[in-house]
Symmetry: C2
Subunit: 365 residues, 2 copies
Amino acid sequence: MDERVYEHAEVLVDWSARVERGDDVVLSVGPDAHELAVAVAEKLGERGANLLATYSSGELERAYLQAHDGEFDEDPAHERALVENADVYLSIGGGRNTSAKADVPSEIRQKRRKALKKTREARYDTRWVSTVHPTRSLAQQANMAFAEYQAFAYDAILRDWEELAEEMARLKALLDEGEEVRLVKEGTDLAMRIDGRTAVNSAASVDYDSHNLPSGEVFTAPYGTDGEVAFDVPMTINGEAVRDVRLEFDDGEVVAHDAAQGADVIGEILDTDEGARRLGELGIGMNRGIDRYTDNILFDEKMGDTVHLAVGRAYDACLPDGESGNDSAVHVDMITDVSEESRLEIDGEVVQRNGRFRWEDGFEG
Amino acid sequence: MDERVYEHAEVLVDWSARVERGDDVVLSVGPDAHELAVAVAEKLGERGANLLATYSSGELERAYLQAHDGEFDEDPAHERALVENADVYLSIGGGRNTSAKADVPSEIRQKRRKALKKTREARYDTRWVSTVHPTRSLAQQANMAFAEYQAFAYDAILRDWEELAEEMARLKALLDEGEEVRLVKEGTDLAMRIDGRTAVNSAASVDYDSHNLPSGEVFTAPYGTDGEVAFDVPMTINGEAVRDVRLEFDDGEVVAHDAAQGADVIGEILDTDEGARRLGELGIGMNRGIDRYTDNILFDEKMGDTVHLAVGRAYDACLPDGESGNDSAVHVDMITDVSEESRLEIDGEVVQRNGRFRWEDGFEG
């Protein structure tokens, strides 16, 4: 087996999830993620953790959802009990077709998501980490050859996470002290309150409240958003292509939206519930191992010189203890490129201009 | 998709497991059983059941077990909670290599089995059904071409189960009334008590206390076994070839054993625990859709004109209410051909001779 697969498994189990002897681990395996799952199983055996593998197949879900009448039971006892009793939840994406669920009506998806809300919340209470095994299907989505995509993915995943964590700590400190963030570029002038919120140094480890591998972003939970923002990074959301989304905010809520493509998808997401019209996340990408967009949110939102915003659910880690964030069944990220003609300000001071941070060579305050 | 896959799924969900709206279903999926899993997911959606798919991979288990030091936690909470909260447990075997775990030391296997005892017992408390998706690996094990094997497997699975259940009811009635069974053929003269035990009409449905698809056997839980028996059907047990096993019983316990091949495997099984030296099952194969041995116990033991015995655990369904059967961590079946020069007696009366039952044309009392 490719040595990088073992390295990936080791980062996931040891650095990301901090697996220890006796941990009850759920390993969610995509249909084409078998190789990484085998390497992870070996690591879990070495650590003396307890492994239960689940099968996460878009085709299975599609067949189930298409056949169902849509009256889903809320949080079925068996699945909920599994997750509530898990210490660690590792999700390894990797199917054979990223559009496997493309023809499932969005109404059915939404009902299903709502029905599984407590199960999902229980997963967020574990030491959960999401990663992907680089597959041919993901290479295709990225318009890349398979070997090229593998090299890309492992560049993003097999980083010196401790070093990156140190750099990201600088930005976290500025955000923690700040009260307002302003993002300015063409088509974008957006002000967000961050007073009282805690930024997460997302270094791909649960010890940093970070749950994605790869990661490499600093994020917080903004509120009271005002202004407009244009997302120029192309994406696939719920299986549909989305281009050039524009959102207009007033007093924290989306009051207008449009898109060059996929406006319907965005509209459906915003209509999911009340929280879906508010921001749940402001994230600043700092993983320069990711050097291009691949239409995969796990990678795209971490890319250096990008900023992303998510409508919907906020992460508890960004909120004061016991305070609940923006509540929603959705969390949908959208990305804007800040490598050129842009600036990010905290309380009126420029922190990043044209993709360079104030502590970097080439920064022009 | 092959129409037979959908028919298989329908038999499994409706006839075998009697799935109803709201049932919490665990679907255990082998790595090469994806197609059948998709068809089953569709049926479960139609029925309004709740689906949680687990991934059952020999390679995963092998990697985990090989890396583990062998000090397994007993019944990890997450897996046990999943099974205890399930109404239905459907297991679809089908990997890419039936020898995937061949190099796992038997000591490690045994420790693992013992550690998961309560989880396994909880599974037996669900409406559980085991089946296989016909795969290339199973075709290879059977020395058959893939399409040939598919035809064989679906002949065994897609039967008129109600009709077969009616025929099997005749044998069940004789066994329920009987006190002692005697099996006689070359190398075999074995007497087993069945007084007070209830035979199961194993018609591939939980409504018949039958948990295999295909099934087609009548079985009971014998005790007080005396005499000797020769198993002439070749098998693979725990990944190793086993040929011509001979067991000698005295007062219910195996007192001697040998085999032309695989005697060590048999010895290890017999040494698992006290119950492993006693019989847990006497089964009489009545599925004539199965017309040859394929080195797969799920099929072989159901074949018409065969009798099988299992050392280890007895099925509760064969025992008086509240009485506990032969307790053991193992249940290992071995098969003998009774198509020629053989007879099966109940209380001294011949019930089957040379493969013909007393109610069939050609029976020679």
